[in-house]
C-alpha cells in the first residue's frame, strides 16, 4: 500500500515556517516523492499562528489530509491548536523553550511534556549552538527529515543549493541540519518512506500563483497591470521576475479601476494584457469589464477568490464569486468564465483564455482561489509553450479599402475584423457608448438592435468552445458536482466512497460561462441525484445548473470557513446526504 504522510509545521508568522516547509518539500520532491502543501496564515506579518501542511506520498496527491502524522511545533500554541488533528500514530516535535528561558516557562509546559506522542527538541538551542538562532528552521527541517527516513545527503544537497553563494552560512546550516537529524534519530516514527537513493523528481514543484504567471508568459502576455491584493499579488510578483528576460511589463496601478482600464488600453493598442485581483478589486473593475464588453476589447482577468463580503478573510479561501463574475457590470455582453482545477489545467487555461478572448474579442475571467494560489503543487507534465500565437488582427493589407474600415462591422458570427490603431491607414475608433459600425456614438433604434445582436451572436461560437463537465465515474448513480480548485479533494472523496462500494462519481466544471448547457444536461441526465460541493453558502454552481438546465441538485455541501476541503470531510458529508436519500 502506498504511504501517505502529512507533516504540519506551525508557529508564528515571521518564524520561518515556510522555510522549514520548503526545505522538506524540496528534499522529498528531489527524491522522487509526490507531494502537495497548503499554506495557512493570518492577515498579519508577525505573530499569530500560521502553518504549512505538507502531504507527502509515493503516489500523486491533490488535496490536503485531515489527520496530521507529524507536527513540527515551533511554539506551544501550535501544539495546542493542532493536537486534536493528530493521527492515532501521530508524533509531535515541540520546540523546547530556550535554555535561558527554561525556568520561567517550565510551568507552562507540564501537560504536553507528559503526552507520550510529544517529543521536545531544542530547535533553537541547537541552532544557537550551530551558529545562530536564525537556523532554527534548518534544525527543524533536519529533525523532520530524519523521521521520514531521508538520507542526510539529500538534505545536504538542498541546503547546498540554497546557500551555495555563502560558504560559511552553508557550513553552519549543515551543522544545524545535522544536529536536527541527530536529535531525533532514535525517535520512533512508523511512517518512514523508502528513499530511493537515485530517485529523480517526478515533476516540477510550483505554487498556483507561479503557474498562473507562467501560463501568462506562455500566452504571450505583454502587459500586466494590477493593484496588490491577496491572494492574487503573487501572480504579478512572479511575472515581474521575467521583466528582464521577456517583453513583459508588470505595472502597479494606482487602483484596480486603473488596472483594468490600463489593460484595456494596452489591448486596444495591440498587446495581450492581464490583470489579477481578488473580489474587492474585481468589484471595482465591474465597470471596466463592461467597457471591454462594449468596445469588444480582449482582456484576461484573474479573480482569485477569498472569503468576503468586503475585506472578509484576506488570506483564506472561498468560492463565493461565481454568480457575481458571470453577471458583473450593467446590461449584457458575452464573456468567458473559467475555473481550472489543477496547476496543469491552470497553465492551459491561461493560454486558452488569452486565445479565446482575442478570437471572440471579449473579456475572459479566470476564477481561482487562495487555496489554489498559495498551495504548492506538483506538475508532472511539461509546461509547453505554443509554437505560435494567433492574434486575430487585421491590417491594411487584408483590406480592399482601408479608409472604409469599420471596427464594428456586423458579421454573422458577431466577430468583426479587428484592426489596431495607428498601424496603417485604417482608422480605429471605439466608444463606451452604443455605437455604429464605425465606432461612433449612435442612438438609432436599428443600430442598437444590430449591435446588441452582433455582440450576443458571439455566444453561439463561444458556447461551442466550452468543455462540458469533466466526468469521473460519470455513469454512477450519484454524482458530486464541483468547480475550480476543489476537484482534487472531491475525486479523492469519490475514491474513498467507491472503495466502500458507494456508486458515486464526480463532475468537474472548469468552463462555466457561456455555460455548456447541453453537455452539462447530458452529463447529469442519467444520475439519480447530484450533490454540489462548494466553498460558499448558497451553492452557486447548483443555482447556475438549475438556471441553465433545469436540473436541480439534491443537496449542497457548503463549507465557507475559509479553509480548504479535505477528502475525508467531503466523504463524510456525502455519506450523510446519501443516508438521507436512502
Amino acid at each position: 500500500m502506498s504511504k501517505d504522510v502529512t507533516v504540519t509545521i506551525g508557529g508564528e508568522a515571521g518564524q520561518g515556517i515556510q522555510t522549514v516547509g520548503d526545505i522538506i518539500a524540496r528534499v522529498c520532491h528531489n527524491a522522487g516523492l509526490y507531494l502537495m502543501a497548503v499554506n495557512d496564515f493570518e492577515s498579519r506579518i508577525r505573530g499569530g499562528h500560521s502553518f504549512m501542511q505538507i502531504r507527502i506520498s509515493d503516489t500523486p496527491v491533490f488535496a490536503p489530509c485531515q489527520k496530521i502524522d507529524l507536527l513540527i511545533a515551533l511554539n506551544t500554541d501550535t501544539w495546542d491548536l493542532h493536537k486534536n488533528e493528530m493521527a492515532a500514530t501521530g508524533l509531535v516535535l515541540l520546540d523546547s523553550p530556550a535554555k535561558e528561558k527554561k525556568d520561567e516557562s517550565k510551568e507552562k509546559l507540564p501537560e504536553q511534556a507528559q503526552e507520550k506522542n510529544v517529543v521536545q527538541v531544542g530547535f533553537s538551542d541547537l541552532a544557537k549552538d550551530a551558529g545562530g538562532k536564525i537556523m532554527t528552521n534548518t534544525v527543524a527541517a533536519g529533525a523532520c527529515l530524519t523521521l521520514l527516513g531521508a538520507p542526510f545527503s539529500l538534505f545536504e544537497q538542498i541546503l547546498t543549493q540554497k546557500f551555495k553563494e555563502k560558504e560559511k552560512v552553508l557550513e553552519n546550516n549543515i551543522t544545524a541540519g545535522r544536529s536536527g537529524f541527530d536529535a531525533v534519530k532514535n525517535t520512533e516514527f512508523p511512517q518512514k518512506f523508502n528513499w530511493p537513493s537515485d530517485g529523480a523528481s517526478k515533476g516540477k514543484l510550483v505554487t498556483g500563483v507561479q503557474v498562473l504567471a507562467l501560463g501568462a508568459l506562455a500566452a504571450d502576455c505583454r502587459l500586466a497591470a494590477f493593484y496588490p491584493m491577496s491572494p492574487a499579488t503573487g501572480i504579478m510578483i512572479h511575472l515581474a521576475e521575467f521583466m528582464d528576460q521577456l517583453p513583459v511589463l508588470v505595472e502597479q496601478a494606482e487602483d484596480e479601476i486603473s488596472a483594468i482600464n490600463m489593460i484595456i488600453g494596452a489591448s486596444f493598442a495591440g498587446v495581450r494584457a492581464l490583470t489579477a485581483t481578488s473580489g474587492g478589486g474585481f468589484s471595482l473593475m465591474a465597470e471596466g469589464l463592461g467597457l471591454a464588453g462594449i468596445t469588444e476589447t480582449p482582456v484576461v482577468i484573474i479573480n482569485s477568490q477569498r472569503p468576503g463580503p468586503a475585506t472578509g478573510l484576506p488570506t483564506r479561501t472561498g468560492q463565493g464569486d461565481l454568480l457575481f463574475v458571470i453577471h458583473a457590470s450593467q446590461d449584457e455582453f458575452p464573456r468567458f468564465v473559467f475555473a481550472p482545477r489543477s496547476v496543469n489545467q491552470a497553465f492551459d487555461t491561461m493560454i486558452r483564455a488569452f486565445h479565446l478572448s482575442e478570437k471572440y474579442q471579449v473579456p475572459a475571467i479566470i476564477l481561482t482561489d487562495q487555496y489554489f494560489n498559495d498551495s504548492l503543487w506538483m506538475t508532472t507534465r511539461e509546461m509547453t509553450v505554443p509554437e505560435e500565437i494567433e492574434r486575430f488582427v487585421t491590417t491594411d493589407a487584408d483590406m480592399s479599402s482601408p479608409s472604409e474600415y469599420k471596427r464594428f462591422k456586423v458579421t454573422e458570427s458577431g466577430v468583426s475584423p479587428r484592426a489596431l490603431p495607428c498601424k496603417g491607414r485604417a482608422l480605429v475608433g471605439v466608444t463606451a457608448n452604443e455605437h455604429d459600425e464605425a465606432g461612433h456614438m449612435s442612438e438609432k433604434i436599428a443600430n442598437r438592435n444590430n449591435m446588441v445582436e452582433k455582440r450576443l451572436a458571439k455566444i453561439q461560437g463561444m458556447a461551442e468552445e466550452m468543455k462540458g463537465p469533466d466526468r469521473y465515474h460519470g455513469e454512477s448513480e450519484f454524482l458530486v458536482a464541483g468547480w475550480g480548485s476543489t476537484d482534487g479533494a472531491i475525486r479523492e472523496a469519490v475514491d474513498q466512497l467507491r472503495s466502500e462500494n458507494v456508486n458515486i462519481g464526480a463532475l468537474h466544471f472548469s468552463d462555466l460561462w457561456p455555460f455548456p448547457r447541453k453537455k452539462a444536461a447530458d452529463a447529469l441526465s442519467d444520475c439519480k441525484h447530484f450533490i454540489t460541493v462548494e466553498h460558499n453558502a448558497s451553492s452557486q454552481l447548483g443555482l447556475l445548473i438549475r438556471q441553465q438546465t433545469g436540473h436541480s441538485f439534491y443537496k449542497a455541501i457548503c463549507k465557507y470557513d475559509g479553509r480548504p476541503f479535505t477528502p475525508d470531510w467531503i466523504a463524510k458529508h456525502v455519506t450523510s446526504v446519501l443516508e438521507e436519500i436512502s
Binding site: 521577456l246 490600463m262 488600453g265 494596452a266 493598442a269 495591440g270
Partner: protein, 284 residues
C-alpha cells in the same frame, strides 16, 4: 499653414452651437496640422462628457472610454506601444472629479501623454451640476444654495506633484491654444493643458465676456516658466486677471525610459519567441 481639413470627418457634431469646445477642437486640428501628424498617426483617448466627445469630431483613431478613466486607458496604450502619439481629452468633472486619482498617478508616472482638460467648471453633459472647478457660490439645481467649497486648482495640483509641463489655454484664443498643444505634445513626458472653456448652456458666470476681460498671455510678459513659486502664484490668480500660457516647464525623466522590457523597443513591436519563452519557463 498646413491643412486642417484632413482632420474633418462627416460625423455630426453634437455640441451646442456657440460652445467653447469648438474653439478647442479647432485648436487641436491646427496643432496637429502644424505638426504634420497624419490622422492615422493620432490616437485620441477620452472619458465621458461633452469634452470627451471631442475625438468623434476629428478624423483619427480614438478610444472614447469611461467617465473619469481616460488616463489609465491612455497609459496602458502608451505602455503597450510607446511609439504612439496620444492626446487625452477630458472634462473637468471627468478629470478632476471622477478621475482625480488617475490624474494624481499620471502626474507622478510622467508618461509621455498630453492631457487636454476642457474646463468649463460645470458638468455639461449631465445638465449643469457643480464640478470640482466650479467656484464657491456657483448655483445649480443640485447646489441650490451655491457650491459650499473652494474650487479645485488643477494647476497648483500638478505643480505640487512634480509635473514637468503645466499650461493653461483658453478656448477663445485658438492660435495661442494650438501653440500650447504643440508644445505639450512635443514635451517628452506628461503634459497638462487646462483649457478655460465656455459652456453657454450651464455656466453663465464664466462666459466669453468673463474671460475676455481677464485673460492675459504669459508670453507677453517677462515671465519665465522655470520657477515653481512664481508658477504657483500665477496659477492662483483669478479674480481680476487670469494668465494663459505655459506656467511651468522643466526637464524630467519620462517613465518608459528606464523600464527593462522596453529597452529593445515597444512591447508591441517585439516578437513572440517561443524558444525563449520555453527556455525561461523550463528553467523555473
Amino acid at each position: 499653414m498646413s491643412d486642417t481639413k484632413q482632420y474633418d470627418n462627416d460625423y455630426e457634431n453634437k455640441w451646442c452651437p456657440g460652445c467653447g469646445n469648438f474653439g478647442i477642437l479647432n485648436a487641436i486640428k491646427k496643432s496637429l496640422a502644424d505638426m504634420q501628424m497624419p490622422p492615422e498617426k493620432v490616437l485620441m483617448v477620452s472619458g465621458i462628457g461633452q469634452a470627451a466627445k471631442n475625438p468623434h469630431f476629428l478624423q483619427c483613431n480614438f478610444f472614447h472610454g469611461l467617465h473619469g478613466r481616460a488616463l489609465p486607458v491612455a497609459t496602458g496604450a502608451k505602455l503597450a506601444d510607446q511609439d504612439l502619439t496620444i492626446l487625452v481629452n477630458m472634462g473637468d468633472g471627468d478629470c478632476y472629479g471622477e478621475g482625480g486619482n488617475h490624474l494624481l498617478a499620471a502626474l507622478r508616472r510622467n508618461i509621455n501623454l498630453t492631457l487636454l482638460v476642457h474646463n468649463n467648471m460645470v458638468y455639461g453633459l449631465t445638465k449643469g451640476q457643480a464640478s470640482p472647478t466650479s467656484r464657491r457660490g456657483f448655483v445649480t439645481k443640485a447646489q441650490p444654495g451655491g457650491v459650499a467649497y473652494d474650487a479645485c486648482n488643477p494647476l497648483t495640483l500638478a505643480l505640487s506633484q512634480g509635473a514637468g509641463f503645466v499650461a493653461r489655454g483658453y478656448c477663445g484664443e485658438i492660435q495661442h491654444l494650438s501653440r500650447l498643444i504643440k508644445e505639450a505634445v512635443s514635451y517628452p513626458g506628461f503634459s497638462l493643458v487646462d483649457i478655460l472653456q465656455v459652456c453657454i448652456s450651464f455656466n453663465n458666470v464664466n462666459t466669453y465676456q468673463f474671460y475676455n476681460d481677464r485673460v492675459y498671455k504669459l508670453e507677453e510678459e517677462t515671465y519665465k516658466a522655470d520657477d515653481l513659486h512664481q508658477a504657483i502664484d500665477r496659477a492662483m490668480e483669478w479674480e481680476d486677471k487670469i494668465p494663459i500660457g505655459i506656467l511651468y516647464q522643466k526637464e524630467t525623466r519620462g517613465y518608459t525610459q528606464g523600464l527593462a522590457p522596453l529597452q529593445s523597443g515597444s512591447l508591441f513591436s517585439q516578437t513572440y519567441d517561443p524558444e525563449q519563452v520555453q527556455k525561461v519557463i523550463s528553467a523555473v
